[in-house]
Symmetry: C2
């Protein structure tokens, strides 16, 4: 069986995620590509800080060791900063390697150069991971673009900023307290400037502009503003009117050229970005034929980003992934407990032990926790009761008739 030989630049959060994902997906690569994927070497800055789980993978701090590997098909870039990333990837392309990158700052600066260099050398560039982590924004835009003109793109592209704004509103805390919480949770770096002053979202917006309009606006003319000046007082005032602050990157083509801004805006509940909370990212696309499409998901993190990178790797080789036919990954071994509402004449209903009553919503509705099987058994026995599954988290605070006076917070499936 033939092998795809990989070099990985960087072994931080994203690098480790890619390493592990490639390791655990060998069966999948064989099934889809008919090939093995082997990481040959990993480049790090400081050799003493890192150790690889596999002794046959080279760990090096010299790019020369990477570029002179006897076998090398794909270079994956999981480092940050404009340089040396750009120089490394240029050399890789010139050697005839495909490249895949998650490095937004570098790609915002040099994406166009890398793409044309790659075209010249007949290799591919994957950069889905540079924008909105695990959400397939680049691919979706490309698909829409084949038929549609894209009128506008609005995106929440920085998870840390969105987390801070959400926490300020929900917990009534200050910007600095929310920032500390984001740092505790590992969302924000020790130096949060890149996130909260809008640089990260700006780079991503520039990459989107390149994808959507084939060029970037003049960087000097882009209004770039972070969220550090937003006060709790402002958030609370606008909350009363149903408005939320979101940090939004906007792209639009006008008669004057590409108009782009990256700034806090107020969003009402009718807008697709209103409900995007915590570290989630989202992109709302206005296309002329299809209308508005919005995508939401994890914008960063070890595995979402790794997933985007490995998806790009597979796409280099094949355009059609096969369905998930393996029998080895049923999503749970035991039937889970789900949340249900029993509706109807529930007053004198005999509830078997396998069904746990969480609360009585009113005389006609009962909230229960049970396996699907138990609910089916019950449904077959009783008439006049309708059963509804409940999706999403739900805190039942009880009614005056509630059997359980304390609040129950449960999670639907």
């Amino acid at each position: 069986m033939s092998t795809i030989h990989i070099a990985l630049l960087g072994y931080g959060t994203v690098g480790k995620g890619v390493y592990q994902t490639i390791k655990t997906h060998q069966k999948r690569f064989k099934a889809i590509l008919g090939k093995e994927v082997k990481i040959e070497a990993v480049l790090v800055k400081n050799l003493e800080k890192h150790q690889l789980p596999d002794p046959d993978v080279i760990l090096t701090n010299k790019f020369e060791d990477i570029i002179s590997l006897p076998k090398l098909d794909v270079v994956i870039d999981a480092i940050v900063g404009k340089q040396p990333g750009f120089s490394y990837l240029s050399q890789a392309i010139k050697r005839g390697c495909h490249i895949i990158t998650a490095n937004k700052q570098m790609f915002a600066h040099y994406g166009r150069e890398l793409l044309s260099l790659a075209e010249k050398h007949g290799v591919s560039v994957g950069f889905e991971a540079t924008v909105a982590g695990g959400i397939p924004v680049i691919q979706t835009l490309r698909k829409l673009l084949s038929v549609n003109h894209i009128k506008k793109v609005h995106g929440i592209l920085n998870g840390t900023s969105n987390f801070i704004l959400t926490k300020m509103r929900e917990e009534g805390c200050s910007f600095s307290d929310a920032l500390s919480l984001a740092q505790e949770k590992g969302y924000a770096e020790a130096d949060p400037t890149n996130d909260v002053e809008g640089f990260d979202a700006f780079y991503k917006a520039m990459i989107l502009s390149e994808v959507v309009y084939g060029k970037q606006p003049d960087w000097e003319k882009v209004r770039k503003q972070g969220i550090s000046s937003i006060t709790l007082e402002q958030i609370e005032l606008f909350s009363k009117f149903g408005l939320r602050f979101k940090h939004v990157a906007s792209l639009e083509k006008t008669t004057k050229g590409i108009h782009c801004s990256v700034k806090p805006v107020l969003v009402s509940s009718s807008h697709p970005l209103f409900h995007v909370e915590d570290v989630q990212n989202a992109v709302s696309i206005d296309a002329d034929i299809v209308g508005n499409i919005s995508l939401q998901g994890p914008g960063a993190g070890m595995f979402p980003t790794a997933s985007a990178i490995v998806e790009d790797l597979i796409q280099l080789e094949t355009e059609r992934a096969r369905p998930d036919e393996g029998a080895d990954h049923a999503s749970f071994a035991h039937e889970p407990l789900l949340t249900w509402v029993l509706y109807g004449e529930v007053k004198n209903l005999e509830i078997p032990e396998s069904i746990e009553i969480i609360g009585k919503i009113n005389a006609k509705a009962l909230l229960v926790l049970a396996k699907e099987e138990s609910i089916e058994n019950l449904s077959n026995k009783i008439k006049g009761i309708t059963v509804y599954q409940l999706l999403g988290d739900f805190t039942f605070s009880g009614t005056e008739e509630s059997r359980f006076p304390s609040a129950h917070s449960i999670t639907g499936s």
Copy 2:
């Protein structure tokens, strides 16, 4: 310049949308594919009911006229029902044509057969338009599947049902009144059974199952329930607890096989499907590596569906659509009026005539309508005022200090 020769089956809403979209996208086809796309013939049931805008396109009610066209590369299926769609497309594949279909009932029954027949004959099958209209669900699932196992898929796949449930809750009307409204607006057919009893969502779920798990569950074992039994009383009761009824198709792989249901469920605000309202469709995907991704957009309609079909057509020929470089489609010729909030010491602020005041939120915040240019001019002149753009619809009902006592409903950009 070479030409792609097309036959179109059906000239209803979707068929007309495809016809027009192909007509208006000739420049785009030339730019992306280096080819012209020409509709050679259109198949209809009743010749007297239809007239084509172009005299050189054949209008016929005999499929033999289609399949015996001297030049034929792609057959696009925009008719409904299992037959004769399946038989027509099989013949097209055997002739060596690519096929693209929007026919969910047919594809739920015969998708697998058509796909393997197409593989045998070395042609492609596009079916993005069968599920969730303009939302690229099939492509996104395929991309995720290359790396992820899909644990669960929950989807709002029938726009008519979602519209009815939304209207009942919002307007407090009965099922039959909401259905009449859906029929007035052209969302629901004269015979709404297919939509409101869950058949339409069921077919789409079967197609998704085929994509995700490579097979379908036993149709007899799928719980299929529509929304016709949901009463206003139920909707109002659960609304009080923050729960909404949504008609949801669910797919999940368990140790016992593929578990699928199509039924009304209760959804809380933490779930991605809660905010999907009116005729919108959405799909929420739980993948093992990337986490939860959700997509939302128009699930049906003339142009969204046509867009999905024409995107498939382009994808047959090229995997990479180019960016939107043309200068001929700036999204507006004149700068639009946008909504803004001026925040700070607005009390004695001189507002130029180009900025229209909508209302005073409080002593520190003013709601205005203006072109971006006017706002920039103002910002350059004044200190201590922060300007936030407002996205989404917003009804300003005024405060006790409001200058305008009547409610203003405005639309942000």
